[in-house]
């Protein structure tokens, strides 16, 4: 019987003795690569309970048990390092980018608000918010520095704001520059996601748009997992709280998760949102599968989705009549 191990191929007799052995060289890197090949290749599996260390000693691959473990340690370590370095696939990069974007959004908003409050004490009439305000402060600092050609000039002259001292001005300007660069970074990441979505998941990109597509991949964990989800799951990705409330108690099922951000759904009248969400999710799951398994762009998906949405809209022009309230039902057999 042929048995393949990490250190060589052995021919084992009926009583377990080694008849012949074809040992690999003791090169750690080579052994690690072989080990990864063996992981996929299910031939020559050692029988249950086969003692690899004894076999390695008996076949003279190594001289001592200590040597066995120290070599195996190096080989397994090398093998996982190879695997980990190969694990950062393009969809994983998109996930990092989209999560960084969410963090950036949060940070930028709170810093931007802080800047608004802070500078508001010195020039409340500016009427600027967000990035425009940050750019303004970074450029001028105190309202005194605005030239007469600036549209805000007259407001600045008559402002009720306090005098901005030099030390505060330096602080505020620096702070505003930071906020500006955060906005800049946000745009940069958005462009990056748009470009990578086009190459990694062109169909998903076409139907969901780059941001929604990237978020779907991010929540699923990978494009592979997204492709494996049924469309009913994709429909409620991002609504897990509502979904589990529904499963545990008698709460209504969620109609849509993050796919709500797609204009097809959020511009539709409320009574057909669930139907459109279902149609969209169906096409999204198809798109994810095409992207993962073939990668070719198929524009017919969008057309089919459009037709379907038109149908739904045409056959449901009016909101349904409200049903009679049926009163709360017994929750006896449910867990809270």
């Amino acid at each position: 019987m042929k048995v393949t191990t990490w250190f060589g191929v052995l021919d084992i007799g009926r009583t377990g003795e080694i008849l012949e052995s074809d040992l690999f060289s003791k090169d750690v890197r080579e052994l690690a690569h072989r080990s990864l090949v063996l992981k996929e290749n299910r031939q020559g599996l050692p029988p249950a309970g086969f003692d690899l260390k004894d076999a390695a000693l008996e076949s003279r691959f190594i001289d001592s048990s200590a040597e066995y473990y120290s070599l195996l340690h190096e080989v397994t370590l090398e093998a996982v390092k190879i695997q980990v370095s190969g694990a950062l696939t393009p969809d994983q990069r998109i996930i990092q980018a989209v999560e960084a974007l969410d963090d950036l959004n949060e940070t930028t908003n709170s810093l931007s608000e802080r800047l608004f409050e802070w500078y508001g004490g010195y020039f409340p009439e500016s009427g600027l918010i967000g990035e425009a305000l940050a750019i303004f402060i970074a450029k001028y600092g105190s309202r005194e520095n605005i030239g007469s050609d600036n549209p805000l000039y007259s407001k600045a002259r008559g402002s009720m704001g306090a005098q901005l001292e030099a030390a505060d001005e330096i602080l505020l300007k620096g702070f505003a520059e930071n906020v500006c660069s955060l906005y800049e970074r946000k745009r940069q990441i958005e462009v990056y996601i748009e470009n990578s979505m086009e190459s990694v998941a062109p169909n998903l990109n076409l139907i969901a748009g780059p941001m929604l597509g990237a978020r779907l991949i991010s929540i699923s964990g990978s494009l592979e997992k997204l492709a494996a989800f049924p469309s009913s799951t994709i429909q409620v990705i991002g609504a897990s709280k509502a979904l589990f409330k529904h499963l545990r108690s008698r709460a209504p099922s969620p109609k849509h998760g993050i796919i709500y951000s797609n204009p097809l759904i959020n511009t539709a009248p409320w009574w057909i949102r669930g139907k459109i969400a279902r149609a969209l999710a169906a096409k999204l799951s198809l798109a994810a599968r095409i992207d993962f398994y073939s990668g070719t762009k198929d524009s017919s998906l969008v057309e089919k989705l459009d037709t379907k949405v038109r149908q739904i809209r045409a056959s449901n022009p009016k909101p349904p009549q409200k049903k009679q309230e049926s009163g709360p039902k017994s929750k006896k057999n449910r867990r809270k």
Binding site: W6, H73, T76, V80, A87, L247
Partner: protein, 226 residues
């Protein structure tokens, strides 16, 4: 000076202000996950937080994990290596084959394994023991902590291949990853029954207790081959 009491081979209880579960640090001076290092008479101990480790919780719940200095362990669901590090302390002359599937966790585990000679990291799916059959030798203990719906099946597949005849299986069953909405007690009953009867090889359950108050909705199971 803290008082040291031996609970079983390689596992200690230190009394310093309060009681700490601890193992002897195999990698002196290094902290793995923010635990305390307490030197006693020239030996450095690492405290072991049962709230962060199901194995630790099982020790406090009086599971007889029966590890010796030279035991071989197959650890399924190694994650970032928090518990693996303590297992590695306990079997200082033995081996811990640490199987983990997620690349992110594996990154941390590699850091740990490169400093500890008795940890053998394996990046593979614990549900497919054939994929590491060319590496793992027969073991004295299989410890399994995987958040998978088919936990019992995974345990039995691995046991049939790697567990010695007189070896033990230690299992942490997470009710929530089998059925998110069902009553955990029902899920536990179901899973224990599966271990006893559903697959080949069959197990004899020696001990089964929930891991409260350390882990919610988790059942610890100690079993051996029937």
């Amino acid at each position: 000076m803290p008082e040291v009491r031996k609970l079983s081979d390689g596992i200690f209880e230190l009394v310093k202000d309060k009681k700490h579960l601890a193992t002897r640090n195999l990698d002196p001076g290094k902290v793995v996950y923010g635990e305390k290092l307490i030197p006693v008479e020239g030996v450095e101990y690492r405290t072991w937080d049962p709230r962060r480790s199901k194995l630790g919780a099982m020790v406090l719940k009086k599971f007889d994990i029966s590890l010796k200095e030279n035991s071989k362990v197959l650890y399924l669901g190694a994650a970032s290596g928090t518990t693996v590090s303590h297992a590695s302390d306990i079997v200082s002359e033995g081996a811990v084959y640490a199987v983990e599937f997620a690349p992110r966790s594996m990154r941390d585990l590699i850091g740990l394994a490169s400093r500890r000679k008795n940890i053998f990291p394996i990046m593979a799916d614990a549900g497919k023991p054939d994929s590491y059959a060319h590496i793992v030798e027969p073991v004295d203990l299989i410890f399994q902590d995987v958040a998978q719906p088919n936990q019992a099946e995974i345990a039995s597949r691995n046991a049939s291949r790697f567990l010695k005849k007189d070896g033990y299986l230690l299992l942490s069953i997470k009710a929530r990853s089998i059925d998110t909405v069902a009553n955990p007690k029902e899920v536990f009953k179901e899973e224990v029954k599966k271990l006893e009867l559903a697959f080949e090889p069959k197990f004899e359950i020696l001990n089964a207790k929930d891991l409260m108050p350390f882990h919610e909705d988790h059942l610890g199971v100690l079993a051996k081959l029937r």
